[in-house]
Symmetry: C2
Subunit: 308 residues, 2 copies
């Protein structure tokens, strides 16, 4: 967002103007989209095919739940417009977008559509799709490396959080690797495949804000939210329609992928999802517009397509 807009908002707040939760979310959504567009290499810069595909992998986005979590946690500390927080928010979103491109490839989920549009590998081919994954993953780290030099010490800690959340031992790449194992612990799988990035997003925001004592609590919020979102995905894969979710359904059953709704039943998955969301609500604390904004994001990100 522009400096001027930020100033206006700050003065509105200090003058007692009541920003609603929806205002807060809209503000951060807009700032995030602008920042992502600035971070991507120009579409026509060589290699132009790769760069065009990177744009298509990032825009239009989905719910942007991971970066919004990051920005809204920082908002709780009055630092939602901090540059380093935005960089961490972008970094987790870029890793997420990289993972989606790869998930859709023929040797993974073999999905032809994503967010209602053709998947990257369908438009650009497998080779470019693989490179888009690599390039967005690398860009995530580059975005952190371009932080102001005076924040080097804090950025250094963010690299550690992002690296673990992405990597093979504890992160999303390891989660994708678990799908290829003969048997897998469903909870560990959900924590790596989905919750790791949410953890890093929330914990990273607290680190940026110097809220050392709260880092573990926010990491827990991220983990619960991430696991609830994965349960939503599992439920949708069993009972939603492709139109409602913008991608093929029934893939987990077809490919023998771990799925909580398949393993334990949709009812059980719904109950567990609700318990996780209740856990988040408990951790969020006192009701303020900022807390309410977080609650809205959690709700939006974890609601199954089929209402009950």
């Amino acid at each position: 967002m522009s400096q001027q807009l930020a100033e206006e908002e700050r003065s509105q707040r200090s003058a007692g103007g009541s920003r609603t939760a929806a205002d807060i979310i809209t503000h951060h959504q807009r700032a995030l989209e602008e920042a992502l567009a600035r971070a991507l290499p120009p579409r026509d810069l060589a290699p132009a095919r790769l760069h065009a595909a990177m744009w298509d992998a990032v825009f239009p986005g989905g719910r942007r739940a991971r970066p919004l979590l990051c920005l809204l946690v920082a908002e709780r500390y009055g630092q939602g417009d901090d540059e380093l927080v935005m960089r961490m928010a972008m970094a987790v979103e870029l890793v997420h977008c990289a993972s989606l491109v790869q998930d859709d490839m023929p040797c993974f989920d073999d999905a032809d559509t994503r967010r209602g549009r053709p998947a990257i590998h369908k438009v650009y081919g497998d080779a470019t799709a693989i490179l888009v994954g690599d390039a967005l993953l690398t860009l995530a780290f580059e975005v952190l490396a371009q932080a102001p030099a005076r924040r080097a010490t804090t950025a250094f800690r963010l690299f550690g959080l992002l690296g673990s959340a992405a990597g093979s031992s504890q992160g999303i790449i390891g989660g994708q690797g678990l799908e290829l194992e003969p048997s897998v612990d469903l909870d560990a799988y959900h924590r790596q495949k989905t919750a790791a990035l949410f953890r890093a997003a929330a914990a990273g925001a607290a680190v940026c804000c110097g809220a050392e004592g709260d880092v573990a609590r926010w990491a827990r919020v991220g983990e619960l939210l991430g696991c609830a979102l994965q349960l939503r995905d599992d439920i949708d894969d069993v009972e939603a329609t492709p139109e409602a979710v913008g991608k093929p359904i029934g893939r987990d059953a077809a490919l023998g992928r771990p799925n909580a709704a398949l393993q334990d039943g949709v009812g059980s998955a719904r109950a567990l999802r609700q318990a996780l969301i209740d856990g988040v609500a408990e951790l969020l604390g006192a009701p303020t517009p900022e807390t309410e904004a977080l609650r809205l994001v959690v709700d939006e990100a974890t609601r199954p397509a089929v209402r009950r």
Copy 2:
């Protein structure tokens, strides 16, 4: 290497013991292999298939020219055993190993062998091979993020160097992307595909050693060496045997890939390679065991399989 061994070597040097260039190289080769083995996740840690494949992508290595360049530049400043230098050396090698796994895949060079052994995708399949690329790329950044916290400011700069050297705009991923473009500038392609990591390796060492005034010179050494090595590869692809190089040859012609020896002739490529190596020699300066070690690494890394 062990603390004790390092002490022994230091005392040997200070006592006037004459380390040869070969001693210096052997010392760093051994230290590097040990450090890489410590950095990789245990082979049997879940996801075990992915982790086993990561080990097979890193061991046994090739010439390890990139990390040796990094370590030997630091050696010129008496800091070849600095932990942060080793982390930078490992990081560039991990990115390189990631790129090789991907280069061999069916949708890229479609090569069945690498270093005389079956390629990763032949042993583990395409899905695991893609994840190995992601995981080694991420591990490169994680290795830097695990540097001692007191080196955070310097490590922060290394993240920037590594990110550019890997990324789509100036780095190796962009170089792979250029292969998929309808036409490409050969020099720009060589600089991204191969020289970028050498630049980062040499410049990163100077940054670690606090040799700010020399960073540009070492970056140039890395660039010249990287381009000379790529010319060696281009020449080998035209006139070597698969046995001599441990991988298929003639791939560039078969796949329509940019190749200097195909485009301008083997004689021209050999002459250019020699000019680049002469440029490196000029930049290396006064002959010492450390300079001689660098010269040996350059020679070994850039010598075509077919002698003339």
